[in-house]
């Protein structure tokens, strides 16, 4: 799976089963485009640190992620991924260092909200509402016009196979349906930067494929995707860059192909091998 050009037709052919073949999943061709690589960084951090008492959750994190990139943020449980995302979204003040997201300092949440979309591990949705109401609520909070909300919500509900259930209350939803609702909510306003914490958690293979496709399309349109996940196959397929966090520190970063190439384990190496290599105590 090291040659990502092989993945594109695989995904594209798969997409023809359920989705518009014209909008086939072509992440590699879009996200590795030189035009995006030359753009201003969408996320920059310098020495970003979060301490809880004597425990360092994230220590001295330096990131520079280009606009339009899909950044796979990996790390074992407790490595500090969620803490990092919370700092980058302004939900958690850092104890040291600095950072900017789409030109807004991460300590200024009122400015950050204009640029970001966020899906935490647990989808932030009201169980008393229906999915359509929840998404309209979010669109309204974003200041989107009613017509634009309707069109965008309908489109995404259809794509995520949620349209038939959109008028049922979320309390009746399965975990995957809640996850889809949360994901639609995070991306429906076409933000500059999307932070996704385990977006494919609880999703079936078809929905996972849709997620990959939608994220690739967003990236192609210039949206930066910050993707934290344990599903390495998703990262391997669509990420343009990968960062591996271990014990609060960034121990490896770079394009997936490069990371895999650095390994001297033969041609069949995968991102999983890289992950295990750099996150194993020696």
């Amino acid at each position: 799976m090291t040659d990502r050009s092989n993945d594109v037709p695989t995904d594209a052919s798969a997409n023809t089963e359920t989705e518009d073949p014209e909008s086939a999943d072509t992440p590699a061709s879009t996200v590795t485009d030189d035009s995006t690589a030359s753009m201003e960084p969408a996320i920059v951090t310098h020495d970003l640190t979060k301490r809880y008492g004597s425990t360092t959750a994230v220590g001295g994190l330096d990131l520079e992620i280009s606009a339009g990139a899909i950044y796979g943020f990996l790390g074992p449980n407790g490595a500090g991924k969620t803490t990092t995302i919370r700092m980058l979204t302004g939900l958690l003040p850092p104890t040291g260092g600095e950072g900017r997201v789409a030109d807004a300092p991460i300590t200024d949440r009122e400015r950050l909200v204009e640029y970001v979309g966020y899906l935490p591990e647990s989808p932030p949705i009201h169980e008393e509402l229906t999915a359509r109401e929840q998404l309209e609520y979010h669109g309204g909070l974003r200041g989107m016009e009613p017509d634009a909300i309707d069109a965008r919500v309908e489109d995404l509900l259809e794509r995520f196979d949620l349209a038939d259930d959109a008028d049922d209350r979320i309390v009746t939803y399965s975990k995957g349906m809640r996850q889809k609702t949360g994901l639609i909510q995070a991306i429906m306003h076409d933000p500059d930067v999307v932070f996704l914490d385990e977006p494919t958690s609880g999703l079936d293979p078809r929905a996972t494929r849709t997620v990959r496709k939608v994220l690739s399309e967003l990236a192609a349109d210039g949206t930066t995707i910050f993707l934290s996940t344990h599903v390495l196959s998703v990262v391997e397929r669509i990420a343009t860059e990968v960062g591996i966090l271990y014990d609060g520190e960034l121990v490896e970063s770079g394009p997936p192909d490069e990371l895999i190439a650095r390994l001297e384990q033969g041609a069949d190496s995968t991102l999983e091998d890289v992950f295990l290599e750099v996150t194993t105590e020696t």
Binding site: P124, E136, G140
Partner: protein
């Protein structure tokens, strides 16, 4: 019931006890409760001692039966309430896949029993020893403790079973849930009617006590004094019969198991949740009224608040506290000071609307807080809450006050000023409530069972929500003082104000309150926005 079931039940109860203690750990209200229990134990012990001294000369048998009955009712109610509270926090998936449902039922009953025991143990020992000393009958200490333990065990079993049965009925029939919650909200009404009926039919207290004394629950009173026949009180046969009532406990635990199975396994979802969506951004009266005048995010917050209130009317329930505050504090103050009662109307309406739509914003948005904080500014959120309150408060105040103004002797100018007072109080209440409630620590918020819904509702636990509400009431009352003073005869007829027309004094005082309320609302608004901006998710 096998040994393994009991063993698993004990384990479940111990873990729930541990969880409960950690949830409550370090709260000053808990320490206060312990102190209150000590105080109650001392008072009850002294009372029991005094009763023991006079028991041979005073016919106390009825009193003991009544005491046993009241204690039983109180413990049943407390057990039901504890069951209601703990049931929401049980990890049903874990339990269902780990132990038989019967063990979970035993665990729940044991947990509630342990909590009830923790509350009554000290007073029980104190009463038992006090009565034994007073009557100079050492055996009475033992029989009293045995009787209260037996009565408590039965009460816990009845309380747990009754609460789960009520829950099942609520799950099965949405209308029944509504009726149940309405009953719980307005249970005082039938009690009041019952009291009047008793008065009307001239039922004497003696008749009532005699009736209570023949009920089976009163037999536990006889059990308590079964060892002091020499005092000439109690009936040992009824005392022993009370022990026989304990046979109902295994049956009730069996019923609890059946109910748990039905609640967890047979009725996992509530069909009443299926519904149509209501638009939060599309055309509607609010959209036509306010679109373009206030920002879209602010309008959306207000509309979302209306929709959530429609689904789970937690804000509406809070107006009960407004009525309580008005009934206990404001109304007597108005009566004693001779303030025009007309002024009470806009203040009550303004406060009620303000609290309904601004109370507990972080609790209402607990689940969606990560989205909210990364989506919308504090100004829009707080503005939306105040807008929601005003959209309801302004027409309510205007309609009611204008109607009363037309009927009463108050002039047009004063009527309009009173309307303005109501509107300003509404805005002030909403902004103040939002400012105070934005300080809620997210770690203090937990799921609690709630009226009108089977969906767990997030709320701050303990006494703090009431203190916050008291803070709002205090601020709004202070703001209203000029208007109240100006509408009091002792003020506008005061010799020093003789040169000023009465209407001018009244009007001026109303406008001072309006001004004051708007100033406080503005300050509170800013505080609320600042607090929203300072919220972090650790």
């Amino acid at each position: 019931m096998g040994r393994a079931t009991i063993r698993d039940g004990i384990r479940i109860a111990r873990v729930e006890w541990l969880r409960h203690r950690r949830e409550r750990n370090g709260r000053w209200s808990e320490r206060l409760l312990v102190a209150a229990l000590f105080a109650a134990a001392v008072v009850l012990g002294v009372g029991a001692f005094a009763a023991g001294r006079v028991v041979t000369t005073t016919p106390l048998a009825n009193g003991i039966g009544l005491f046993a009955s009241l204690l039983f009712v109180a413990l049943v109610a407390r057990s039901g309430s504890m069951t209601h509270d703990r049931f929401e926090r049980l990890n049903e998936t874990f339990l269902l896949t780990t132990v038989p449902t019967r063990a979970a039922a035993v665990g729940l009953v044991l947990f509630v029993g342990a909590r009830v025991a923790a509350r009554v143990a000290l007073p029980t020992v104190s009463v038992a020893i006090g009565a034994a000393l007073g009557l100079q009958a050492p055996v009475l200490a033992v029989t009293t403790m045995v009787a209260i333990a037996a009565l408590g065990s039965l009460a816990v079993a009845v309380g747990v079973t009754g609460r789960l049965a009520a829950r099942l009925v609520g799950m099965r029939i949405a209308r029944a849930r509504l009726l149940r919650d309405l009953f719980l909200m307005f249970a005082w009404l039938p009690l009041l009617i019952g009291w009047f009926v008793i008065r009307e039919v001239s039922l004497s207290i003696v008749d009532l006590l005699t009736w209570v004394d023949v009920q089976p629950v009163a037999w536990f009173g006889d059990l308590a004094i079964v060892g002091v026949r020499s005092a000439g009180i109690g009936d040992p046969v009824r005392g022993l019969a009370a022990v026989g009532l304990l046979a109902a406990i295994p049956l009730l635990i069996g019923a609890t198991t059946v109910l748990l199975r039905r609640i967890w396994e047979t009725e996992p979802t509530d069909s009443s949740h299926r519904s149509v969506s209501r638009s939060l951004v599309g055309d509607g009266p609010l959209e036509r009224l306010l679109a373009g005048r206030i920002s879209r995010p602010m309008l959306t917050v207000a509309r979302e608040r209306f929709l959530l209130e429609r689904r789970v009317p937690r804000g509406l329930l809070s107006t009960g506290y407004v009525l309580l505050f008005v009934g206990v504090i404001l109304l007597p103050a108005f009566v004693f000071s001779g303030t025009a009662a007309f002024l009470l109307v806009p203040i009550v309406l303004g406060m009620a609307a303000g609290i309904t739509f601004a109370i507990g914003p972080l609790e209402v948005e607990y689940r969606t807080l990560p989205m909210l904080l990364t989506t919308v500014s504090g100004r829009a959120v707080v503005g939306g809450l105040v807008t929601a309150a005003l959209v309801v408060g302004v027409p309510a105040v205007t309609l009611v006050v204008l109607s009363l103004g037309l009927l009463g002797p108050v002039g047009a100018a004063e009527t309009i000023a009173v309307v303005l007072v109501g509107v300003a109080v509404c805005a002030c209440t909403a902004a103040t409530t939002a400012a105070i409630d934005m300080a809620v620590d997210r770690d203090d918020v937990a799921t609690v069972p709630f009226f009108f819904t089977s969906i767990p509702v997030y709320a701050e636990t303990g006494a703090r929500p009431f203190l916050r509400l008291a803070g709002t009431f205090a601020v709004v009352t202070l703001v209203s003082i000029p208007a109240m003073a100006g509408s009091t005869a002792a003020v506008y007829d005061h010799p020093t104000l003789r040169a000023v027309p009465t209407s001018a004094v009244r009007l001026g005082s109303l406008l001072v309150t309006v001004l004051l309320a708007l100033v406080v609302a503005t300050i509170a608004f800013r505080i609320a926005v600042r607090r929203y901006r300072a919220i972090t998710l650790n």
